[in-house]
Symmetry: C2
Subunit: 523 residues, 2 copies
């Protein structure tokens, strides 16, 4: 059963059978009650990320002993990153409350969110993601349960007003955490390298906190199923939680709402009902095919592969339509390929590489399915690889170039390695050349760092891969990461593509891959 | 069954039988859905109260046609004062919402609450009474139902943020009003004087909006059962709604939680459980006795009178303990008698008068009950009346004086008329002398204006009474009252005892009595 759904910018062809299948795969939730560990102060500290550190004042067990009046505030540290629902008991102290309590709660994944006022945020992403609430409590004593889900480690409570006749005390402040990632299947790593061990743990925690009704990109911001994140989460999941039905569910959700050309959206909204976002990204649509390939590799689930193959093939077909006469992805104003948040990055060459990377996987799936598309795909692979060498390889610089200005970027080289355009030995040379030359157009996200490290592994440079892993994700841990961050540039630690690091997500799916890299490749 | 309950400042002797009786008298609620009438602008207008008027932009039916983005706002006028619960549908316009909606709602009984920022409020009563909420909406389209009850005519909606990809539209903004005052028993007045007719209507609306689980003092602020308000609400109720069980319920609530001396608290908290406030007012405790008297007069409910008489008598007994050797209420730092919000008012003489006023009613109840206290009460009445004449009557000024500085106030004379210390003709002279002399220590609340108007009626000055009624409550209507206000000084219309008129209540129980005065005394 299909249905046509027109929105302002799209025509969606709903596949109700696929959507029903996805609904039936709704995961079970694991819940746990977590209490704060300490009452802390947030201190200016230039040695810490964003310039803010924390100092323990005393154990959070002491909280009940204090009462607070108008203008008072305190900050709780829950000890690690949490995703869940906050509740607390509020107890009046003094006369019966003769006026409501006016309270402000600020949730932060990082100390900076406790220290810098959200009112000063002026980035281009909506300020509504900043996690704060002001509320009135009319009936005390009583339990308040906040209906929204938060992603946080720190909680600042400010008493905006009580009355002259009473103050308030807080008991049983707690967070009911939620995840669909059951640790049951996760084996202890026990790596002899303690830093890799630690990176593995933080990766798994990051993935777990992003596993909800779908694989979310970040539980603080976006909270949404994005294809670029999904592919990496799924890879990490196969090595850890093995909640493979959640990957299957996400694939069916995407497959449930293609547009009238058969395009898979870059991301989906789940509530109040399934909606495909009107953003379509060249690379993300192709990652649907790649994610299906990875899923089949992990599960050998032929039924799902068979059902979703037509759409997976369609993404390749649509991408091939963007090839110009020379066999190169057309770079103009009409498209958007994500690749990375690097502002100056030209997307042509990495997109070309992603297309080739996808073609290789589509061919393998066509073989499994004995599809009549196999020959065509093989021809197209040859054509695009040849065109890439002819038009994008620059012999002088020994790099792939991108766009009319022949840009040399890290992303282009990395994706070309994944695409295996060159032979293995040349690939190895290319990546070593990249690391020694260090072109200006670098990487800004853990998402692209993942592909760098995996590229190093693929060319046999395991030691370099481990070194990069430690230099990037290890440094994030040194900088205080309980879960891995959406954005991290070791050279510019306040980097944000959104105009302020306040709005960055500090638990982000696409940063969870070290556990995959370490476990899959036995680093 | 009784139980002792110790709090920080009180020992309460709970009478569970009385409390159970009160619980069984929980009223039925009448609910009605009310929609806004107009989209309005709030305009500076020096001819209007507080300097703010409204202008209709267009019918609220047009609201759905508009959509709003970051920084946009609009104000709705519901056409009259409402007490109830707000709900609305929020519909995204544009792309699917990729970030929560951050919304600010401001509720106002008066235009000034829409115009002057609450952040500038700096009065001594808690700012938490100012009716505003900021909230995040995560799922759209959807219905939001605010859990708190509001008291308002105007609603300002400000869009703090959406995202760059969507705007929002508002459908079905509505208020589900609640009251326990059923208009079924209210007869049309059809007074030939249209102003009295109008005053009567606004009185009834005021009373109805204050009739909830108990007789509240004001649905915006305090929202609480106060004895001073209860007495007047009950009087107005007997002439209109005749929801006499609600009076009975309130009497039993007060009787359920006296302190260990038998004192009745000035007000009660109902939620989360019945609690006597730790405020005790000389006059308000005595009004328990008076309210029981009025209730018996209206209902002839002998069972209730019999059960509550010991406590009613106890209030008189306790008040008599405050008499000094001369038979005058001791005026020192240890007590608080309310009387009025007039800042400079000395409370001794009006309190003395209220004691006498109560003694006369206690005597009548003792007669009904054939109580052995009758003789004692009669003796005490004689002693206090004589002492009042001897020590508080000032022959030179021909006024009653109060306190060590022999203050001459309106409140003292008015309450002495009610106490009938002088004979009828001298009472008439006293009140006429008051109106012609106009002492400086005047009246500030409709509560005291009620006792002024009723005093005029009692001495036979009906025309003067009507003139005062119109000059005060009529002028409030001219100033835009949909319901009568807590505070009103025609000479100083921005008067507030709390530091700002923003926090004043504009629907207040103690201001609802004109309907009683008009109907009871056939004005």
């Amino acid at each position: 059963m299909t249905g046509i759904q027109k929105t302002e910018n799209q025509v969606i062809i709903r596949n109700e059978e696929f959507i029903t299948k996805a609904e039936q795969l709704m995961p079970q939730f694991l819940k746990e009650t977590v209490r704060p560990q300490s009452i802390v102060k947030i201190e200016k500290d230039s040695t810490k990320i964003h310039g803010w550190g924390t100092g323990v004042i005393e154990s959070a067990d002491k909280l009940s002993a204090y009462d607070y009046g108008k203008g008072d505030q305190f900050t709780l540290d829950f000890g690690t990153h949490l995703v869940g629902y906050l509740s607390m008991k509020i107890r009046p102290v003094g006369s019966p409350p003769d006026a409501p309590l006016h309270l402000k709660l600020t949730f932060g994944e990082m100390p900076v969110e406790m220290a810098e006022p959200f009112s000063e945020y002026n980035g281009w992403i909506s300020s509504s993601w900043l996690q704060e609430e002001t509320l009135h409590v009319d009936v005390m004593p009583g339990v308040i349960e906040l209906p929204r889900r938060y992603s946080f480690r720190y909680l600042k409570i400010e008493v905006l007003d009580t009355s002259r006749k009473y103050r308030v005390a807080f008991d049983d402040v707690q967070c009911l955490t939620v995840t669909s990632g059951d640790s049951y299947h996760v084996e202890e790593l026990n790596h002899k390298d303690s830093m890799l061990n630690e990176i593995d743990k933080v990766s798994i925690k990051t993935l777990q906190d992003c596993m909800q009704e779908v694989f979310e990109d970040g539980p603080k911001r976006d909270r949404r199923l994005w294809l670029g994140d999904l592919r990496l989460q799924a890879l990490a999941n196969y090595e850890t939680f093995q909640t493979n039905d959640l990957v299957k569910r996400c694939l069916y959700l995407f497959a449930g709402v293609p547009d009238d050309k058969g395009r898979i959206a870059a991301n989906l909204f789940i509530a109040p009902s399934l909606i495909a976002d009107d953003t379509y990204l060249f690379d993300y649509s192709l990652l649907f095919t790649t994610t299906l390939f990875d899923y089949f590799e992990a599960t050998k689930d032929l039924e799902t592969l068979t059902e979703l193959w037509p759409l997976a093939y369609r993404q390749v077909e649509l991408a091939l339509e963007r090839l110009d006469d020379q066999g190169i992805v057309t770079d103009d104003e009409t498209w958007w390929s994500f690749i990375d948040w690097q502002e100056k990055l030209n997307k042509q060459a990495p997109s070309q590489a992603i297309l080739i990377h996808t073609l290789r996987r589509a061919i393998k799936l066509a073989e499994v399915l004995k599809s009549d598309k196999l020959t065509l795909l093989e021809q197209k692979l040859q054509v695009t690889v040849d065109a890439t060498i002819t038009h994008l390889w620059d012999q002088d610089s020994e790099f792939f170039v991108s766009g009319s200005e022949r840009q040399i970027s890290w992303a282009s080289q990395i994706w070309m390695v994944h695409a295996q355009v060159l032979d293995p030995e040349d690939n190895r040379k290319l990546i070593k050349h990249l690391l020694s030359t260090k072109p200006d157009i670098g990487l800004t996200t853990p998402y692209m760092y993942h592909y760098l490290v995996e590229a190093l592994i693929l060319v046999g440079e395991k030691e370099q891969a481990i070194a990069q892993l430690k230099a990037y994700w290890g440094e994030m841990i040194n900088d205080g990461a309980d879960t891995f961050w959406e954005l991290y540039d070791p050279e510019n630690k306040s980097f944000s593509p959104y105009g302020s690091y306040l709005i960055n997500s500090y638990c982000h799916a696409w940063s969870c891959t070290p556990t995959y890299l370490i476990r899959k490749y036995d680093l």
